[in-house]
């Protein structure tokens, strides 16, 4: 009797192991545990066994029944979990999913964020200032007195004789230095305005300005920080050159070029066949600027830089028309 029970148990478990389908499990269950099942049949015979071993046989039979029941349930879960049990359900996995609505951030703001975040990580504070600015902050404090020919570089919108739409983000430098003693390290994004509108100019665009002032900041430091920035922004292999230029608020001044991203320096239409692209203007803060904010020019030195965001976005994304940024066509906006 005992033998029979154990043999049946092994047979049942072996058989169960081979089952791959939920429906087969049901018939298996009936075949062993059902009213006319094999185990049920065997258990009915327990009463015929000698009384001295009957309780023991009974216990064994119950254990075996429990073991098989448990194994059946486990097998069932296993099959369901593997998914094989639903073989009748066919789904078209190529149908598009139920998409939550997704919006888009304007590429100009994406690039501003990227630029600011690179400088933030270097320890620069992100600062902003007014769009409608006093002539003093926009020009005079930046060593651009009235009647200075360099004012021609930036055609200005006037609101009154001494209030302008800022032509660059540089006035933020002055506002910060006026309030804060050195050391100062800021990065300042914002919209700027120039009275200029043609194929390659929009009357409003965006700039990011940077400033670092401390004891003994050098031109070599300017090169170091801007090289680090460009390598993060455009890739660590990007070739860079610094060349002399002129800005009234820096001396020495440097224009920073990167190797043309389109032709890799071979020369193409985008880089006017020079192989280089102007990416930002920079320089050591002019002593006149320090004087207007009462910084001791003997104790402190610093560098400033500024870049056009649309230009960077155009190079980064291969956009060839600056007007696209302000037309706000959804075919444009949804690409970013």
């Amino acid at each position: 009797m005992k033998e029979q029970l154990l043999t049946l148990k092994n047979k049942a478990l072996d058989e169960l192991q081979k089952i791959k389908d939920v429906t087969d499990i049901e018939s298996f269950k009936v075949a062993y545990l059902g009213k006319k099942g094999q185990l049920t049949a065997l258990m009915k015979q327990i009463g015929k066994s000698p009384p001295d071993i009957r309780p023991e046989i009974g216990r064994l039979a119950n254990t075996i029944k429990a073991t098989i029941s448990k194994a059946i349930e486990e097998k069932r879960s296993e099959i369901i979990a593997s998914g094989a049990g639903k073989k009748e359900e066919i789904i078209d996995i190529t149908l598009p999913g139920r998409k939550p609505l997704r919006g888009h951030v304007h590429p100009v703001n994406t690039v501003i964020r990227e630029v600011c975040s690179i400088f933030s990580h270097m320890g620069f504070n992100v600062i902003t200032g007014p769009d409608v600015e006093l002539d003093y902050y926009n020009f005079e404090a930046l060593n651009l007195p009235k009647d200075h020919p360099a004012r021609d570089m930036q055609d200005t919108f006037y609101v009154s004789s001494n209030v302008v739409l800022r032509t660059h983000t540089s006035p933020i430098q002055v506002r910060v230095m006026e309030k804060t003693p050195p050391p100062v390290s800021i990065i300042a994004p914002g919209s700027v305005y120039r009275r200029d509108s043609d194929v390659s100019h929009t009357p409003m665009f965006h700039q990011v300005e940077g400033l670092l002032v401390d004891n003994d900041v050098t031109f070599g430091d300017l090169k170091g920080i801007l090289t680090a920035f460009i390598h993060q922004m455009f890739g660590s292999g990007t070739k860079i050159r610094f060349r002399p230029s002129f800005f009234p608020f820096t001396e020495p001044s440097a224009e920073v070029d990167i190797q043309c991203v389109m032709c890799k320096g071979k020369g193409c239409r985008i880089c006017s066949h020079t192989g280089w692209l102007e990416i930002l203007g920079s320089g050591m803060v002019d002593p006149e600027v320090f004087r207007s904010v009462d910084y001791d020019t003997e104790l402190y030195s610093g560098f400033a830089f500024g870049m056009g965001i649309e230009r960077i976005a155009m190079l980064k994304y291969g956009i060839d028309d600056i007007q696209l940024f302000f037309k706000n066509d959804i075919m444009f906006l949804t690409q970013f």
Binding site: I112, F124, V132, Y193, S197, T218, F219, E251, N328
Partner: protein, 805 residues
């Protein structure tokens, strides 16, 4: 500025490729925008001799020439009036392609065979001249390529000059920079003047009444000149520099200006009253006609060059019609002067005249160079136009140049640049730039006197740049500075702005950026009342167009404009937002008030029809949902809407102020049909919300704390009630909250029905209330009682009735 490479080579040896030269100039601060080779495709053009000219039998204006090509004689039909027998002229034979692309073919012109074409200068691409066939020097052999006869091959450098370097606005200026950078010697011109005329003092005088405005005026007189066309070489160079040749005298003044940077002016000596010059300011409202025929109204700040009677030129800007050189001019007075940059700039700005001369004067000419430039001009004039030059020149120099030495510290230079340059190296660089350098005993300084043409150098910092330029920016070692960690918080405009953008993007909105200036007509389009502060525009004095003439006071105008352009390009469902500044005018020349606001608009279908959802047009609850998501995203937990009719562009029925913590932070609503129509968007429903960022920030709890989970189970009970349509759900919610005391944890409206099954004036609304106590498990019986009480109160206060089923 465009200059000829051959011209440049007259003053400095250049033994490098054009690419190397471009790089060299660019790296010392003179950006080379392009280098264009010229006359490089003329090898096939040969010199030919005209053996015979006969009239064309069938055309009066044509002639029939017999041409010696060096190999054979050919017939050529030609229409130019200037040729004569024996002339050597450029010839293109059949098969030759001209610079303008034309291919020469053998053919018949009015019945006569023509086996080639005689060429004018413009057809050769050399100048703009088309007055006749180009005549080559007599000694030329027929058959020789013309490029072997006259020097034509050249390159034009297009240079971008910075405004601080007027000294580079000349061929010699650029040559000087090349010499400094390469160590080559600058070959200065030494004009030789053969003075055969009377003493200058017997011919003219110069009186300077304004010595500050005109510190130096030099002049010379040439008598008995012959006005004519300049020789080819001069016209060619002027043409390459972008200057139109006029006649030999005017051409010389332009040529010397390009060569030496000193603007000159030639007066007709005989047309000057009393043949003399007076420099003074104009009278207020004095009228003056410049040589371009324009009449200007002058003021007392305009410096003018006068004769004994009246103005004859706008100093440093342009000459007058009344003293201009003309064909029969035989005596001339040449002016070479220095004018105060600010005086010239103001006048040029005010009069709206910008010339090659004013460009140089307003940036600063070389006060010490006027007499050399004058002599160079006199030399060229006597070569080109003959005549006799007066003995001596007038050099009226009431305010002589004073050189100002600058002390340069070697250690300071290296500390600013991050370099390690020796005193000798620095001294060498500066001397190479024509600076006078003295070495005091202290070892650490140099006393540097810049040349008079370097008007940009007056301070030590200016010299740092010179040293850096010559050392080469690329040779200054890269270092990384120590930066103090940022201790202040970043601008909210940026950090909070970024957060707002990411929340709005998550809510499915697309960000736009529109111009901050808009049309003043927008106020009417948006139905803004006359008295509204939304009309207190900041006006731009010099806008590019009326459409961009005032600073915006709202973002809704820009968003509607963007919606309009997208809808007219075929877009349907739009969800846009803009986060930007609005501006409000303040009196007294003050800066305006700037406020950051967020505006979002939606229109059209919420989503396109897909396999899983039907198309549905947006309604108020979509914009409200967006506002709710936005508030949740930025951490505003509690807010309420209150109907208002104060938002000009919203429908008064669907328009509300949005408040949080007791203050209004924004508004929400549906755009008036009239407003929508004003934007050319008929029959579209637009919904929008606007939030003031500063007000919003004040409502955000910056001290957000974790809330522990509830410890005891919740009990849920539903109410389904029929109420008049005018009853707001919030009224019922408030009753539940008020009477449920602190046992009501949350209320969810899970059903709303308006339709056939109920009275038209009613709506059925269903709430699920979550009851929970913080103190213990709730007793079901007690909650049932509370729930009943609440239902009774709702019925009493709203006149509602319980809905069956």
């Amino acid at each position: 500025m465009k200059i000829s490479l051959n011209w440049l080579k007259e003053f400095v040896d250049i033994d490098m490729s054009q690419e190397e030269l471009s790089h060299l100039l660019t790296m010392i601060g003179i950006e080379v925008a392009s280098v264009m080779p010229v006359a490089c495709d003329l090898d096939a053009i040969i010199a030919a001799r005209i053996l015979d000219i006969k009239p064309h039998p069938n055309a009066d204006c044509l002639s029939l020439c017999t041409i010696d090509t060096g190999e054979k004689q050919i017939p050529v039909v030609c229409g130019a009036p200037n040729i004569k027998k024996g002339d050597i002229v450029p010839l293109a034979l059949p098969g030759v392609r001209l610079p303008n692309g034309t291919k020469i073919k053998k053919g018949k012109i009015r019945g006569e065979v023509s086996e080639g074409v005689l060429l004018a200068e413009d057809e050769l691409g050399l100048t703009d001249d088309h007055s006749g066939i180009m005549i080559l020097p007599d000694a030329s052999e027929p058959g020789m390529p013309i490029t072997k006869i006259i020097s034509l091959e050249d390159s034009v450098l297009d240079l971008e000059l910075t405004p601080n370097r007027p000294d580079c606005a000349s061929v010699i200026g650029i040559a000087r920079e090349i010499a400094a950078a390469t160590g080559k010697t600058l070959k200065r011109p030494e004009p030789e003047v053969n003075e055969t005329g009377p003493n200058i003092e017997d011919l003219t005088s110069v009186t300077i009444l304004e010595r500050e405005a005109c510190p130096r005026y030099t002049a010379g007189v040439v008598q008995h000149i012959k006005i004519g066309t300049s020789p080819f070489w001069m016209r060619y160079r002027l043409h390459l520099s972008g200057i139109r040749p006029v006649n030999n005298i005017v051409d010389v003044t332009n040529y010397v200006m390009l060569e030496m940077g000193q603007p000159l002016h030639a007066f007709d000596y005989d047309r000057l009253e009393e043949n003399r010059i007076v420099v003074k300011f104009a009278r207020q409202d004095e009228s003056f006609t410049t040589l371009d025929g324009q009449t200007h109204n002058l003021d007392q700040n305009t410096l003018v060059i006068c004769d004994a009677k009246q103005p004859v030129a706008l100093a440093g800007i342009m000459g007058g019609l009344n003293s201009e050189i003309y064909e029969d001019t035989s005596n001339i007075l040449i002016e070479s002067a220095y004018f105060d940059p600010v005086i010239i700039r103001r006048a040029s700005k005010r009069l709206g005249i910008s010339t090659e001369a004013s460009y140089r004067f307003e940036r600063g000419a070389d006060i010490e160079g006027t007499h050399i430039a004058l002599k160079r001009a006199l030399e060229l004039i006597s070569t080109l136009a003959g005549g006799s030059i007066s003995k001596g020149i007038i050099d009226n120099y009431p305010k002589p140049y004073i050189a100002r030495p600058v002390t340069l510290r070697i250690d300071r230079t290296n500390r600013i640049l991050g370099s390690d340059l020796s005193r000798e190296t620095i001294e060498g660089y500066l001397k190479g730039l024509n600076m006078d350098v003295e070495r005091p005993d202290d070892q650490n300084t140099l006393v540097v006197t810049p040349p008079s043409f370097r008007v940009d150098i007056s301070r030590e910092a200016d010299l740092f740049e010179e040293v850096a330029r010559l050392e080469g920016y690329e040779n200054i070692p890269i270092t990384i500075p120590k930066i103090q960690p940022a201790t202040k918080t970043d601008s909210q405009e940026i950090s909070f702005g970024d957060h707002i953008r990411s929340v709005m993007r998550g809510a499915g909105f697309c960000e736009v950026i529109t111009y901050s200036f808009i049309s003043p007509a927008s106020a009417d389009m948006l139905d803004i009342p006359d008295s509204s502060p939304l009309r207190s525009f900041v006006k731009i004095l010099n806008p590019l167009s009326l459409d961009q003439s005032v600073m915006r006071t709202n973002l809704i105008h820009g968003l509607l404009t963007v919606a309009e352009s997208n809808i007219h390009r075929g877009a349907a469902g739009l969800k846009f937002f803009e986060l930007g500044k609005v501006f409000f005018h303040r009196e007294d020349n003050k800066q305006p008030i700037e406020r950051m606001i967020l505006t979002a608009i939606i229109t059209g279908p919420y989503q396109e029809k897909t396999w899983y959802c039907q198309e549905r047009m947006v309604d108020f609850y979509d914009i409200k949902g967006a506002l709710e998501v936005f508030f949740e995203g930025v951490g505003i937990e509690d807010f309420s809407l209150a109907k208002t009719d104060t938002i000009p562009w919203f429908d008064t029925n669907i328009s509300a102020n949005v408040s949080s913590t007791g203050r209004v932070v924004g508004n929400i609503g549906r755009l008036k049909p009239d407003v929508v129509k004003a934007y050319n968007l008929k029959n579209k429903d637009f919904y929008a919300f606007e939030v003031d960022i500063e007000a919003l920030l004040a409502c955000i709890d910056k001290n957000k704390q974790f809330k522990p989970f509830p410890r005891f189970p919740a009990v849920y009970r539903d109410i389904s009630i029929l109420v008049p349509k005018g009853i707001e759900s919030a009224a019922i919610v408030n009753i539940i909250k008020q009477h449920g005391k602190d046992l009501v944890e949350s209320i969810r409206i899970f059903d709303l029905y308006e339709g056939e099954k109920i009275d038209k004036a009613e709506k059925a609304i269903a709430f699920r209330i979550c009851y929970r106590s913080k103190k213990g498990t709730l007793d079901g019986e007690k909650i049932n009682k509370l729930h009943e009480t609440i239902i009774d109160i709702i019925r009493q206060e709203t006149g509602g009735k319980l809905r069956e089923g």
